[in-house]
């Protein structure tokens, strides 16, 4: 039983939160801007000036004469909860939407990296779709495990289309892979859909399987790649990293080697993945791997398996709910590979360039935090 004084403030908070969600039900551009700016206030106050967010002119370029062909932005791992439980992740996602809308010039498209919902609930997915509808640029969606395992992707596909697809854009072939499939662990245990979802949403539990693209996914990828000439630049979007990073947290793709083998023959392959909620960089042969930031929370780096090329971000401050989170942009070069820009909300932005990866970490080294030893 909560003491009476706590109960009162709890009720007040719940009331304000209800008002906040009521306000975003009727989202038009003006209301959205008003509401998005209420980083603390949860009720729509009158006369609020639309806040101004913008991305600054990017002064650092990769050490190359080539200029990027085009740019896209990303928002990833928003992990939205049901409205009655948590509005902090909603506000964070709205901040990301504001950031990409304020980009000048606008990106060619905005990519969503997966884990829109936290527990795969229809309400969470619909809320996410509503918030994303405010993005000015065209959106490309990718599914994450948190979106999928409640109803095995039924609602997701209804709202957003197929979980796996590809498209061409300005001479680059983009593949969106479904890489968070799992071998069935729930049927024999007679789990309910929610039990299955909660298991997948957990970490360090040996119950769930490791992520994989799977046999069917690999078949689909093979067919798709057959149409792509070897010298055409490829960008693969995947929720899981498409390499083996840290097994207990499912920072892992079980059939990574098989998938990578299919990609090695191509001149330039870049994998952009979600799931890891941190700055992450890797290179395996001719494949460059970049992780996307989450808007909801940062993960610490696991005790082993960190790729050598990764420049870590400084430990996020737990007092600061925005630290370690953010969104970003990707500059895609016409001849392939990318510059990955991390727009960290409480830290200085960092760019990991194609030159850095091409030189195996010898050139264009991003600024790293100084981790003092004791």
């Amino acid at each position: 039983m909560l003491p009476l004084k706590w109960k009162k403030s709890d009720e007040k908070y719940k009331k304000e939160r209800a008002e906040f969600f009521n306000a975003i039900k009727h989202l038009d551009r003006r209301t959205f801007l008003k509401v998005a700016g209420m980083a603390g206030a949860v009720f729509a106050s009158k006369g609020l000036i639309p806040p101004h967010s913008f991305q600054l002119i990017d002064m650092v370029h990769a050490k190359t004469d080539e200029k990027p062909g085009f740019r896209f932005a990303y928002i990833s791992d928003t992990h939205l909860y049901e409205r009655k439980l948590n509005e902090r992740f909603v506000r964070a996602m709205m901040r990301a939407v504001q950031d990409v809308n304020a980009l000048d010039p606008q990106p060619d498209f905005v990519f969503f990296g997966g884990d829109l919902a936290q527990l795969g609930q229809a309400g969470e997915l619909e809320l996410g779709k509503q918030i994303l509808s405010e993005v000015k640029a065209p959106i490309r969606m990718m599914v994450g495990e948190h979106d999928w395992f409640l109803d095995m992707g039924e609602k997701w596909q209804q709202l957003f289309g197929p979980s796996q697809y590809s498209f061409d854009h300005k001479g680059v072939h983009f593949i969106v892979l479904m890489s968070v499939n799992e071998k069935d662990f729930w049927t024999e245990r007679k789990m309910t859909p929610m039990e299955r979802m909660m298991t997948v949403a957990g970490l360090d539990n040996a119950l769930q399987s490791r992520f994989e693209v799977g046999k069917e996914g690999q078949e689909w990828l093979k067919k798709d790649l057959a149409k792509v000439p070897k010298d055409k630049p490829i960008v693969v979007f995947s929720h899981s990293p498409l390499y083996k990073y840290y097994k207990p947290w499912n920072f892992w793709t079980e059939d990574a080697e098989a998938v990578q083998k299919m990609l090695f023959p191509y001149q330039s392959v870049t994998v952009i993945h979600g799931h890891t909620h941190q700055m992450l960089t890797n290179r395996i042969k001719n494949i460059h791997f970049h992780g996307m930031l989450s808007t909801a929370w940062p993960w610490p780096y696991p005790p082993e398996g960190l790729p050598k090329l990764t420049v870590q971000f400084d430990r996020p401050d737990p007092f600061d709910e925005a630290d370690g989170n953010g969104n970003g942009t990707v500059d895609v070069y016409q001849k392939g590979y990318v510059d990955k820009h991390y727009n960290l909300w409480s830290k200085n932005p960092i760019k990991v360039t194609k030159t850095y990866l091409e030189s195996w970490g010898k050139e264009s080294i991003p600024p790293a935090p100084v981790f003092a030893t004791y």
Partner: protein
Amino acid sequence: MKKKLLKRKLYLLIVIFILPIFSLLLLHGNPDRYAQASSKFRKNIPQGIPADLWEMLIPEDNPMTEEKVALGKDLYFDKRLSLDNTVSCATCHDPKLAFTDAKRVSEGVRGKTGARNAPTVLNSMFNVEQFWDGRSITLEDQAKQPLINPVEMAMPTHDAVVDKVKKNKDYVERFQKVFGGPVTIDNIAKAIAAFERTQLSGDSPFDRFMAGDKSAISEPAKNGWELFKGKARCLTCHEFNASSPFFTDFKYHNVGVGMKATKNFEELVRKIQGMVQKGTLTEKAIDELALTEGFSELGRFLVTRQPKDLGAFKTSTLRDIELTGPYMHDGSLKTLREVIEFYNKGGEPNPNLDGGIRKLDLTEKEISDLVEYLKTLTGDRVKRLAKGEKL
């Protein structure tokens, strides 16, 4: 044979023991004079300020002596350092007002106003960087800037300041005695900084409470202190502990003050970026923009040009806060209660609002207790100066 061996042993003795000590003494220069002076100043360090920290922060190229401090004090109060002889350091950093000026934004020569509230000189030597936006790294460097800022003391150049000081034979003599050389802008700054290093605050009722006197502050104030550390979430940014008792983390945070009133924010940022590209954003330009309405609101961003520093200002100290109103970098909040209510509502929403800010849900009594607590941070000496005691 024996004599030669003895001679050798003696020689070795000298080399191993006496020579190193002797050379150390030589290399150390003349520590005695400064150590003596330091100890004279040490006894004036209030109980709440770590004396070793004070001594550690005296720069090697500006050691403390009584004559230098006296010279610095006279310069600090000398209105002749301004264009029309009306403004001195003490005009905006008045000892009677806890070294601030009780104005919303400071006023310089010919009634010109800037855009920022005067911070206190008390304990300023402990700041990692000076000014609301940290644009000066040392006290010496800070002292030089208002002299040539058009809305502050408005001298055309530092050379003009030096020329003016040189006209006074008494000053010339004193500079020769203290620095062993002529009047220079750096020496002027060093003298003023040395004086500022004697202006400390650390003898408040709260300091006595922390030292063990449980009756030093009232019960509501004690509750306020608990809230400060807990529900009100103050302590993290207004950091206070035994080794850093200054109520600031010396970092820069955007709490949204002034964001509502600034409507052309994006335009201002683009202008700054343009200046950076053209190479016109010099130290002097930054100093002037910092005190220009509009640009002032960019805060730390003016100095670092990093997105997270947009609208971010240094966490101010809370010592003597009862006497240093109005509050915030633009002086927009008049009372301590208004300040706490500002934080209670979650600051002012804006895209770069610090991630540590959130609604606090404080009750009326809790706000009162916090105000009572803040009042216990006023130093005894500062109170006496406010009542008219001579500096």
